[in-house]
Amino acid sequence: MSTTTEPKHRLPQFISPRSTTEQPLSYLTAERGIRSWLFTLDHKRIGVMYLIGILTSFLMGGVMALLVRTELLTPGPTIMDADTYNHMFTLHGAIMTFLFIIPSIPAALGNFVLPLMIGAKDVAFPRMNLASLYLWVFGAVFLVAAMGLNGLDTGWTFYTPYSTTTNSSVISATMGVFILGFSSIFTGINFIATVHTMRPKGMTWFRMPLFLWSLYATAIIQVLATPVLGITLMLLIAERVAGIGIFDPALGGDPVLYQHFFWFYSHPAVYIMILPAMGIISELISTFSRTRIFGYRFLCYSSVAIALLGFLVWGHHMFTSESAMAAVIFSALTFSVSIPSGIKIFNWLATLYKGSISLTTPMCFALSFIVLFAFGGLTGLFLGALATDVHLHDTYFVVAHFHYVMMGGTLMAFIGGLFYWWPKMFGKMYNEFWGRMSCLGIFVGFNWTFFPQFLLGTKGMARRYYNYKPEFQGLHVVSTLGAFVLGVGLVICAAVLVHSLFRGRKAPPNPWGVATMEWETTSPPPVHNFEDTPKVTDPYDLEGFVLNETSGNYERRPAGITSSQKPSEVKA
C-alpha cells in the first residue's frame, strides 16, 4: 500500500505526437500490453476487468437459466435427467448470486465511478483492490471447477445435511464462495476507507452524490455480514471433510443453526444487491428529469436504514423450520425494510414531477426498474406475512419474487448504469434507438417469463422441481417462451454496446449534463483521472449546464465559468 512510486507515463510511441498535445492519454491507451492490465493498480482498469468477468458470468448463468426453462417445458424429462437438472439450477443460482449480482454494481461500476465522483486519483488501497479482483477470479475458478468435477446439486443455499452428504463437489464450490466473500469484503473495506478519508474539502457527507451513499451503505453490509458466511462455509467444509458435527444431526449437530447462519449473511446480501442499484436509479432519475433529486436527505437516510434494518430480518426465510416465536418476531421486523424502500420509490416519482424528462436508454432502464422493483418488493409482503408465507414458501411465488427484485431490480439498474457511464468508460456513444429497443425487449420478456410464475406458486407448484403435475404445464410453457424473448432482448443489448465500441460516435466529456465530478474529466478519463483537481460543486445542480449542440457536450453556464473550465478547453 505504501511503497508505490509516482508512476511515470510510458513513452506513447503508438500515438501520434499531435494527439499527445491536444488531449491527455486515456487510461485505456496510456499503457499497452497484457501485463499493463494484469498488474495495474488503476481503479478504472480494475473496474473494466471486473466488468468483463461479471458479464461473462452473467452469460454463463443465463445460458443455464435457458436450459432450466427448456427442461421445464414438459413434465418429466425434456432435455436432461433429474440429476442434471438439479445441478443446472444450483449452478445457475450460485453463479448469478455469488459471481454476478453481488459484485456487479459495486465492483464493476462502483470501482470505476467512486474515486471519480469524489475527485480522487484512486481508491484508498489500490493493491487491495487488485487483490480483490484476483480473489474474485480464484473464487470463480473454484466455483466453476465444481461443475467440471462432480457438479453441484445442493441449491445455492447449501442446506445441511443434504450438502454434507451429497457426493457432488460441495467443497470446491464452497471454497469458491468463501474466497468470493473475501473479495467482497476487500471491496467494502476499500470503499468505506475511501469515502471516509479521501473526500475532498468541501464535499461534506450531505454533498455526496447518492450513488456514493448507497455504495457506502452497501459496504457496511459487505463488511459486517460476509465474515459470517465465511465461518459458516468453513464449518460446512469441516463437516464434510472431518465430520465436525456442528450442523449434522447424525453427529448431534443442528441443521437449523446452519440456516440461521446462512441467512444471517444471505438476507443482508440481498440488500448488497439492491442498494447500489437504488443509488444508480437516484442518479439517473435526477439527470434525465433535468431537475434536482427530490428529498435528498431522506434518500441518504433510507439507504443507511435499509442496510441496518436488513440485518434484523433473516429469519423470514425459515418460517417453516424455526420456532413459532422466532417466526413472529422476524415477520414483524421484515416489514420495517419496506418503509425506507417505499420512501425511495415515492421520492423518485416526486423527482419526475414537473421535471423535463427525456427517455434516453439509461432512463428507460431506470423507469423499468421502478415498475419492476415496486412489483417485486410488494410481492415480498406476501412472503413476509406469516400465514401467506406458509403456503408460498419454497414455491414458484418465491422464485418469481426474487427474480423481480434481482433481475427486474438490480439487473435493470446495472444495465441502466452501464449505459449511463459507458461513454465515460470507453469514450463512445451508442445507438439510442436500439438501446431503447433492447430495454423494451427485456421488459416485455422479463414479465412474460416471471409473471406466470406467481400464478404457478400460488397454485402450489414447488420450486426446485424437475417433474410436475400436468396441470401446471400451461404456465410453464408460457414462462419458457418468455425466457427466450428475454434472451433476445439481452442479446440486442449486448450487441448495441459491442457495436458502439467499434462504430460509436466519440463521447464528449459530459453527454448528459450531470453535475457530479466524474463528468468533469475527459471521456475516457486520463490515468490520474483529472488534469486539474476539480472544484467541488453541488452534485445535483443540473441547471448550471447548457447543451452545446455541435459537440453534444453539456457545458457550464457562462456565469459559472472558471478559467480551467472554458468551453474551448473542455471540448473534446
Partner: protein
Amino acid sequence: MIAEASSATQAPSRFRAHHFETAEQQYAASKLGMWLFLVTEVLFFGGLFVAYAVFRTLHPEVFMNSAQLLDTRLGAINTVILLFSSLTMAWAVRCSQLGQQRGLVICLSLTIFAAIVFLGIKGVEYSHKWHEGHLWASQYSSGDAASVGGFDRAGTFFSIYFAMTGLHAIHIVAGIAAIGWVLMRSLRGDFGPNYFTPVDTVGLYWHLVDLVWIFLFPLLYLIG
C-alpha cells in the same frame, strides 16, 4: 497513538502512495482499513461464539463435564504467554515511534518467540487430546461422558473446542508471518517517528488475536 498521526506528516515521500494528498490522509486510511478488517475478524469468530452459546444452552451439563477434560494449567500458561506478547508488541510500536531501532527489533523478536511457544504448547495439548480420543464429534472415542443416541455428546464440545482453538491458531500463524514481515522491514530501517503505520496496524491485529484468546480461555477451560 492516534495523536502521533500529525508527526507522520513529514513521512518520507517514498512511502506515500501517489493517490494520497498527504501522509496524514494515508495514515488515517490505513488505520481505518485495519480497524474494518478487525471488525470482520470479530464477526468471523462471532459465528463460532454463537455456535458455542447455542450448544451450551442446549446441553449445559455436557459442557460442564467436558471442560474438565481440558488441561487448565497449560491453558493458563498460554494465556500468560499471549498477554506477555501483547505487551512486547505494544512496546514495539512505542519503540518505532520513538525511533529506537534496537528496541523495536528486540520487541518484535520476543513477540514472535512468544507466539511460537504458544503454538508449541497448543500442539502438546492437541496431541494429548489425540491420544485420549477427545476429538470432534465424528472422531470422539472415549468412555468419559455419557453416550446419547449413538454419538457422544462430549464430541460436540470438542468440535467447538477444535474449531475455535484451531481457527485461533491459524490466526497466530498469520500473525507470526505478519510480524516477521515487519521485523524484516525494521531490520532494513524502514520505520521511525515519521513512518510506523505497518508496525501500528500489525500491532492492532495482534492485540485482537490475543483478545480472542482472552475470551476463549475462560469459555472453554474455566466456566465448564
